[in-house]
């Protein structure tokens, strides 16, 4: 039970923030009911959602998370958006689509999800399927530059994995 309460803490903070923002006011009534709602929903879901509560409260991981976000939004997304926009607007429409294998090396579920979502969220690459046993993403790529799995990994997901493993793994 103690570990369940400990696990619930990071989740409860998240739910409380969303509760207050959704409610749109912060009187005593909102704060009290918000704490009740956060405690209820986080205790209910704690064992399902969170495995190691220490990770979510570690400031070093948050630092790496912010670095990940900055790299992701200002470098990866911008590059990918401009690339696909060029492909859409150019009259000849230069696309070479195909589904390639991209191996991953990150460990935890959250890291795998973060990498997969980063891949899908950058235009030009969509994760079609995931094989947890072979540790492979199947990625639909708008411009297949290589058929070698390692080469694909280098071009698509290596940078994401480097950040994600520091934020979520270990």
């Amino acid at each position: 039970m103690a570990s369940r309460v400990l696990r619930a803490i990071p989740l409860a903070i998240l739910v409380f923030i969303v509760y207050i923002i959704y409610t749109g006011s912060a009187t005593i009534y909102d704060i009290v009911t918000g704490i009740i709602a956060a405690a209820l929903s986080s205790l209910l879901m704690a064992n399902i959602t969170i495995e190691k509560p220490g990770k979510a409260l570690n400031p070093v991981r948050w630092g790496w998370g912010i670095a990940y976000a900055i790299y992701y939004f200002f470098v990866a997304e911008v590059k990918a958006h401009l690339d696909v926009t060029k492909r859409i607007l150019s009259p000849s429409m230069p696309i070479r689509p195909g589904i390639v294998r991209v191996p991953y090396r990150v460990e935890s579920d959250y890291a795998i999800t973060a990498v997969a979502n980063s891949i899908t969220n950058t235009p030009g690459t969509v994760v079609v399927d995931i094989d947890p046993q072979k540790r492979l993403f199947y990625v639909h790529w708008i411009d297949v530059a290589s058929l070698e799995p390692e080469e694909c990994r280098k071009q698509i997901s290596e940078d994401f994995e480097r950040f994600a493993s520091r934020v979520f793994d270990g």
Partner: protein, 362 residues
Amino acid sequence: MISLTLYYVLMAICGLGSVVAVFLAIVERDMLKAVLFSAIQSTLYAFLYYLLMAPDIVLTYIPVSVGLYPAVILFLIKKTERFEDVEMKKGVLWATGLLSLVFVIATAAVIAGKGIGPVPPPDVRFLAGWYLATTFNPRVHLISAMAPEGVTSIVWDYRGLDTVFETAVLFLAIIASVALMRGVEHKGVYDELKHGMTLIGKTITKIVVPLIIGVGISIALHGHLTPGGGFQGGSALAVAPLLVLVVFSKYFFDKVKFTKTKALAIRSSGLLGVGLTAFAVLIAAIFLHKPAYILQNQPRVGAPLGFPWKGIDGVLLGGSLLSFNACEAMAVCAGFVILFLLLSIPERYVRSVVVGGEEHEH
């Protein structure tokens, strides 16, 4: 005036769009597509309700008609047939569709031209004015519900008995559905690789479900202050278990030991809460030797007892509305969970239990 015209233009677009969506939903032979068109119609209706200044309805209608109801129909299609056996001529279809659109616009023009159309009147009926004036008015304390949300006040205070009976109808419909599936118990072992959707979907669902629960509780507990309430919060809450059911599969509920019986217990305690709140003032009055009504919220003429409507620091509590909303949300949510759990039992298994004996006759 331009903004007002734009407002009505949006309304008219929603209306015409819903005609197209309904037409396609009705004539479509493939039920999957029909459900999709019906969901488009629901979305347009939800937008229309928003424009018609009914935020309470939007908050129930979106989870119910855009979330729960297509999910249920999809379950139904999976368990029965997907295609409808009917022949229709393409030409007749298109002519009917176009004619309905032309009919709408032409009749609307006629109505507006004659000047007798359903122009939104500048005023509401006298009764509505009365409701609005007494929703939250400390000056007429003896006839006011003392909660700023007009719709919830009517639902639980002015027409409370009505709502209690409607809750009973809901309860009976669910009990009847449970009775149809009597004797069916199905358990399985949850396998992370085999059941449900991919790892990515599961991980994100893990994060989103607590947020949905938080928002659902917020809708339920602020029902007396802002648009929302028990029904709305309950149907929003019911989306969370549905999401778990679809993404993680039914067997996940077996793994965390959440059974139909537990849901039934939660539902019954919610209904018990509704009942207790309805009688609370009466019971207190019996002990204090004072007169009181059933479903009494605030003090009335000749009945001086009531729930507190104001807490510390001027916080509005809404009297009995708060308790009604919380209990009703619990009951509605758990009721839908029971039905989803029943719907998700594999059809092959149910068949062996329910019609096992009767099939031999054929």
